[in-house]
Amino acid sequence: MTTLESLYGQAVLLFAALVLFVSFVMLAQSRVTTLVNLFALQGLLLALTTALVAVMQNSPHLLVSASLTLGLKVILIPLLLHWLILRMGLHRTTDEVNRPLQLLLGAASLVVFSYWITLPVVQLSALETRNIIAASTATLLLGMLLMISHRQALSHVVGFMAMENALFFSAVVATHGMPLVVELGVAFDVMVAAVIFGVFFFQIRESIDSLDVDRLSRLTETEESES
């Protein structure tokens, strides 16, 4: 137990595990408002992890990344999403998953899978945070699973943003973080993506009167008798 010996190491591991845990809770969540809040929480935990890694590895540029995450993914994007939810009257919408328990157990097997595929990488790495690589990969896969399993377009956006979170997470723990230029670029991309998604929401709603993307696969305009 190398990382467990220092207090910083323990804190980093704890926060990394909590990031993964929040991904699980997001998967089982059915209210879109709570989903956005959970996304903000995940961003906060991620920013804390990054800041701790920055202190532990003595690499101050990670602090910039951490504050960027804090500003963008904890405050700005969740605010934007909340505004969208209010504007479109979605704050009471639920996005029920069909079989939540099976979904969560599937997610747990994804964690095992990502542990298995990152094992060679972990053995090559000499970083203190190398154990977390598998957890960050799992967070990425869980974000993807969130997009697959949920129906509302808003959940898809949150899933997408969670995947971006996870990519940033793996960059921090697998390398010493991405170059600042790349990070800034990605941050602005995410920002722009959030705005564009907003526009798309309005478009989707105008054409199908709902944000349930399952209805996009219907070909006819006439209402089928649902029984």
Binding site: L4, L13, A17, L101, A108, Y115, N131
Partner: protein
Amino acid sequence: MTWLVNLLQVILFVAAAPLLAGWIKKLKCWSQNRMAPSILQPYRDLFKLLRKETVVAENASWIFHTAPYVIFAVAVLAAAIVPLVAVAVPSARMADIIVLVGFFALARFFQALAGLDIGTAFGGMGSSREMTVASLAEPAMLMAVFTLAVSMSTTNLAAAIETLLHEPVTIRPSFVFAGLALALVAVAETGRIPVDNPATHLELTMIHEAMILEYSGHHLTLIEWAAQIRMMIYAVLLANIFFPWGLAETLTPAALGWGVVAVTAKLVALTVVLVLAEAVLAKMRLFRAPHFLGFAYLLGLLGMLTHVILEVG
């Protein structure tokens, strides 16, 4: 000497269980702005039941008669495994935590059989519900326990707690998850809100109470007391595994006295958390209970996974 301390510890455990129940009742009343009964009320209730006549249905078989004794005996044996004040007691060294889970299963088996034995609708319904909850709670509990066992490389509770006491204070993510999983299982197994409501006799919702409706007199005393001991075991498990500090490692009077103070403080803190959680939660529908326990299992699984992924190597 060690055996004497051991015996005293088990007696203390069994005798203090109604006190814990009374304390929880008191906290619960305070949280609801009600007048609280005396903290000694559970003792009075047990004594009252002991003096009352024991009525048994005509068609009851020997299972119905022996079940209360088996349940109580198993609860006392289970209490002997869990270190309450001192770690280094022989009975805790003899059996490991899987035996503890096995004891719980044995008691539950007899309780469910006794519920079915009389042939009333409520008994059968309660037994069926109890087994449904138990079949889901047991894997979750075992998963949480295995996380502990794998981290400490032993399934023996006393040995694991000693290892924890000797190492510097470490926050393990796996322990956080395992602790939460065990807490959820404890809530389900001891029939607290949100899974079951111990204060109700509403036929649609009761689980534990439905099974023991036919019992009276000293049979009921034993069953109620055993339920209180089980509650105490879960509370002590949570308190002493995840916050082991203060447990007596030597059998000197000072260490033992300190151990009593520490475990009392821990249990008081734990019950405050439990009652606060009960105050903000509503009872779930019965059919939501599998989701609740599924979540507990997931937490246990995550504990195991984070141990393997994050803490090894």
